[in-house]
């Protein structure tokens, strides 16, 4: 029996003890190799949120199994202890431990923390503090683990720069093992922590914040961002796995005992997106889109289902409908899955005749609802955000669905987009109304399978780094709420308002997310202060406490408006400008200007718009495109 870090009286007192005992099917135990002295690197991979959320994350599964293919590396996992255990660990001084060995995280060589959303930043500090690792990188000693960050938020790592020894910028498949080798080599030659960080900083994709210096102008914007010493690169290019059909993928994902948020096999069919929505960070930072080969996926699905026993397979991508061979892929998968009593779930599908046909085969029409993401209420606004979706597409898709027997529709919108007018806000309710009307037009009375139920929800738009909207200004909390109330009011005046339900997200979380997303190094003390004053699990509305955050900014002398309400000039140096994602700032700026003029830019399959991602020489950038849209590409920019 594996030893446990927590005694029985603790495990029987906390909610869901299975979060902390490890030993899940397909988890990897190298305790014998460790005892035999064969392990050279102990790596602890962390997700700064509760177990059920963290276990649903594909990226960690990929890196966990990839690192563990190496006999001299043992990669383990840790998640945020839930608030009940957090209190017990502090009271009883139980150090944070990894699930597999149950050993203290402080004894590891690396602690890798994935940064998936800004609201988990205080949980990063919780992990460090519970582990007994100094919060500030500068205070760490030779025996402390190297604390590294990765994931989408590390595309603007600056608000967390003080807390991390290094960041990995980009996709983990390429440089993780070289980084481990650099660490082994450094130790074998008797190098210090600082020696390793210097060596790491010279590897592609690795950013060591302590080796860079930022100066500011009088108005608070950045004057310069430079390496402190020669030999350290001024610019860090994101890492990218060019060929996704010949790379590492976890064939035996870890299967939790308790139900995770994603309680299913997740198969990533492609990475990146052709669409170029101007608000979407994922659509830019993962460029260019790269598909995984269909035969590879069919084989992978079989292996993963056999190794896990899951009864559901989910295809993961930013826009599944854009996968070239979706039809044959689904046919093949449905055949395999039917044999095994496995359901297929298809998030992010465009609603058309084909996808409805597929969905009617894999889902219960009566129970399932169809999801559309028009994102904006008017065509004008959809053009501004470059959502390549017309009202005709939406209404036709809905009509097709109604004819197929669906009665439940979900719609996702954003509010507070740049240049949004009252007409755009009202458009959310008006478009929803037209969808309802279409239901009654489309389905004759005798064939109606109940009433239409439409749920529209809106979130408030947060500008993210590396998007055309990175120049956008945000609004004060009150203004977001005014807009949401205006939409709600418009819903109330629609003919079918009884069939429609409208909900909107919290506004204060939006403002905070906005500060953290485009923050710089000066924001770090406020994050620490907020954590010290009790902020934790801020992604959970039960725990989010806006007053504590605002007090933290105040006491650190930080003006949140500087990050949210300020107009940013075309020349401004952004905190994240030292990162090169392939897509150029020039392209993003051009997209921003086209957005302001309401001009649509073709997607990558239609034509190349010269974003810069072609520099990686892979994916769609190396494939022929449709010619018909070439005229819409700005001249001389291809």
């Amino acid at each position: 029996m594996r030893k446990l870090a927590l005694p029985d009286e603790v495990l029987l007192k906390v909610e869901k003890p299975a979060r902390y005992i490890g030993g899940e099917v397909n988890s990897i135990d190298k305790s014998e190799a460790l005892a035999a002295g064969e392990i050279k690197v102990r790596y602890c991979m962390a997700f700064p949120d509760v177990y059920e959320i963290g276990m649903s994350h594909l990226g960690i599964q990929i890196l966990y199994h990839m690192l563990n293919t190496r006999e001299d590396i043992w990669c383990e996992r840790v998640y945020s202890p839930w608030v009940d255990l957090d209190a017990v660990m502090r009271e009883k001084k139980i150090p944070l431990f990894a699930l597999e060995s149950q050993d203290p995280v402080k004894d590891f060589d690396f602690l890798g923390i994935t940064l998936q959303y800004e609201m988990c930043y205080p949980n990063v500090l919780q992990l460090l503090e519970l582990a007994g690792i100094p919060l500030h990188a500068e205070d760490r000693g030779e025996n402390d683990p190297i604390v590294m960050g990765g994931g989408p938020c590390s595309y603007n790592p600056e608000p967390l720069a003080d807390f991390f020894d290094l960041f990995y910028i980009g996709e983990g498949e390429t440089q993780m093992l070289p980084l481990m080798d650099a660490w082994i080599a450094n130790r074998e030659t008797g190098g210090s922590r600082q020696d390793f960080l210097r060596a790491a900083a010279k590897l592609p994709g690795i950013y060591v914040p302590s080796l860079y210096e930022v100066t500011y102008q009088e108005d608070g914007t950045i004057a310069s961002f430079q390496p402190k010493e020669p030999g350290i690169p001024a610019c860090i290019r994101k890492e990218i796995q060019k060929d996704l059909s010949h790379t590492f993928y976890p064939e035996k994902p870890v299967v939790p005992f308790i139900r995770a948020t994603q309680d299913r096999v997740v198969m990533e069919i492609q990475r990146g997106c052709i669409r170029g929505c101007r608000f979407c960070q994922a659509g830019m930072i993962y460029r260019p889109v790269r598909e995984r080969n269909m035969e590879y996926l069919l084989d992978l699905a079989k292996k993963m289902l056999s190794a896990t026993g899951y009864d559901e397979l989910s295809l993961s991508s930013l826009s599944s409908s854009d996968y070239t061979n979706l039809q044959p892929l689904l046919t093949g998968l449905m055949e395999e899955c039917a044999k095994r009593h496995v359901n297929i779930s298809l998030p992010s599908l465009r609603i058309d005749a084909f996808s409805l046909d597929v969905m009617s085969k894999v889902q219960d029409i009566k129970k399932s609802s169809l999801t559309f993401a028009p994102e904006a209420g008017t065509q004008r606004m959809r053009d501004v955000i470059n959502k390549g979706l017309t009202e005709e597409d939406i209404l036709e898709g809905a009509a097709e669905a109604f004819r197929g027997g669906w009665t439940k529709v979900k719609l996702y919108f954003m509010l507070g987009l740049p240049g949004e007018t009252e007409e755009d806000m009202k458009g959310i309710a008006e478009l929803s109304e037209r969808i309802c009307e279409r239901f009654y037009d489309e389905v004759p009375k005798e064939k109606r399978n109940g009433k239409i139920q439409l749920t529209a929800s809106s979130s408030f738009f947060v500008p993210k780094p590396f998007t055309p909207f990175q120049w956008a200004t945000m609004f004060p909390k009150e203004e977001y709420l005014r807009r949401a109330r205006l939409v709600k009011d418009t819903f109330f005046h629609q003919l079918n308002h009884r069939a429609m339900h409208y909900q909107y997200h919290e506004a204060d979380v939006t403002v905070l997310e906005g500060i953290l997303a485009r923050g710089d190094r000066r924001v770090a003390p406020a994050i620490e202060k907020a954590y010290r004053s009790g902020c934790l699990f801020d992604a959970w509305s039960d725990f989010f406490d806006n007053d504590k955050w605002m007090a933290a900014f105040d006491s650190c002398g930080i003006d949140p408006d500087f990050y949210t309400l300020r107009e940013r000039s075309a020349e401004e140096i952004f905190p994240w400008d030292f990162i090169d994602i392939g897509v150029t700032k020039k392209f993003l700026r051009r997209e921003w200007e086209r957005a302001m003029q309401g001009i649509v830019t073709p997607n990558c399959k239609q034509a190349c718009s010269g974003c810069g991602a072609a520099t990686f020489g892979c994916g769609i950038c190396t494939e022929p495109r449709m010619k018909d849209s070439e005229s819409s590409v700005p001249e001389g920019e291809q």
Partner: protein, 261 residues
């Protein structure tokens, strides 16, 4: 083919709850590529049921699950099925017997859950002082305890509990549990084995028996476990289920027939 599988749930798996074990087995059968029959309808679910839920924190070597396998498996022996299941088990859970149940019997009372009449337990007092007490003393305590004609406990059933909330006029039911203690033995070092009534008619928990025994002997200080001194649920006891039996005392693993090719 209807089968009954006996399994053990030990070690760290004691922290996994009953419903999660059900989901665990659904996946385990799929991993072992042993096809389980599914229910009819739009939301088919595997046909699988457990004899009796085991509380979190308890271990067992006598758990039972009934399921129905696709007939394509007729070419495999029981041992082969067990081997392929054990090859995909998590550490702490093992299947150790499989028996074919009579076909076609849809009559009430043939499921493992309905058959249970008794359950065997091994209970250990964690208190180091209790463990130091000699076996002879415990034997004599148990003998006097069992010699009682009545052992009365105040049972707060669900109905009463609700009533209590409503109007505070709460009257506890007084139940004589002595007839439900079918056997109780002191094994030494604070260890006891017992056979208790179980199932839907009368279900006696081992912790209830121990509460009574300790109170009878005036040894309530043993309710504090040795190491930490903290009172959490029933932490002063380590409870291990040994087996489940019918009303007549036949182990559920002895019903049905062996599966051979």
């Amino acid at each position: 083919m209807k089968v009954r599988i006996r399994f053990s749930k030990e070690g760290n798996l004691r922290f996994i709850g009953h419903l999660d074990i059900l989901r665990y087995f659904q996946k385990a059968f799929a991993r072992a590529e042993i096809p389980v029959k599914y229910s009819e309808g739009f939301h088919p679910h595997p046909l699988m049921s457990f004899a009796s839920p085991l509380s979190v924190g308890l271990t067992s070597e006598g758990e039972y699950l009934d399921t129905e396998l696709e007939d394509s498996l007729i070419s495999e022996s029981g041992e082969e099925i067990l081997a392929s299941l054990n090859a995909v088990m998590a550490d702490g859970i093992r299947v150790n017997s499989i028996r074919r149940l009579p076909e076609g019997q849809k009559k009430k009372g043939s499921s493992a859950m309905a058959l249970i009449g008794q359950a065997d337990y091994r209970v250990t007092l964690r208190s180091t002082e209790a463990q130091a007490l000699s076996r002879e003393i415990w034997i004599s305590v148990v003998q006097h305890f069992m010699d009682q004609r009545e052992i009365i406990v105040e049972a707060a059933g669900k109905k009463q509990a609700k009533k209590k909330k409503r109007d505070e006029a709460f009257e506890a039911d007084r139940i004589n549990i002595r007839p439900w203690i079918l056997s109780l033995h002191a094994e030494g070092a604070g260890v006891f084995t017992m056979c208790l009534s179980a199932g839907s008619a009368a279900n006696l928990k081992p912790e209830t028996v121990m509460e009574q025994l300790i109170a009878f002997a005036g040894l309530e200080r043993f309710k504090i476990p040795g190491e930490s001194g903290e009172r959490v649920r029933d932490l002063w006891l380590a409870i291990h289920r040994l087996d489940m039996r019918t009303e007549e005392g036949v182990s559920l693993s002895e019903l049905g027939e062996e599966i051979s090719i």
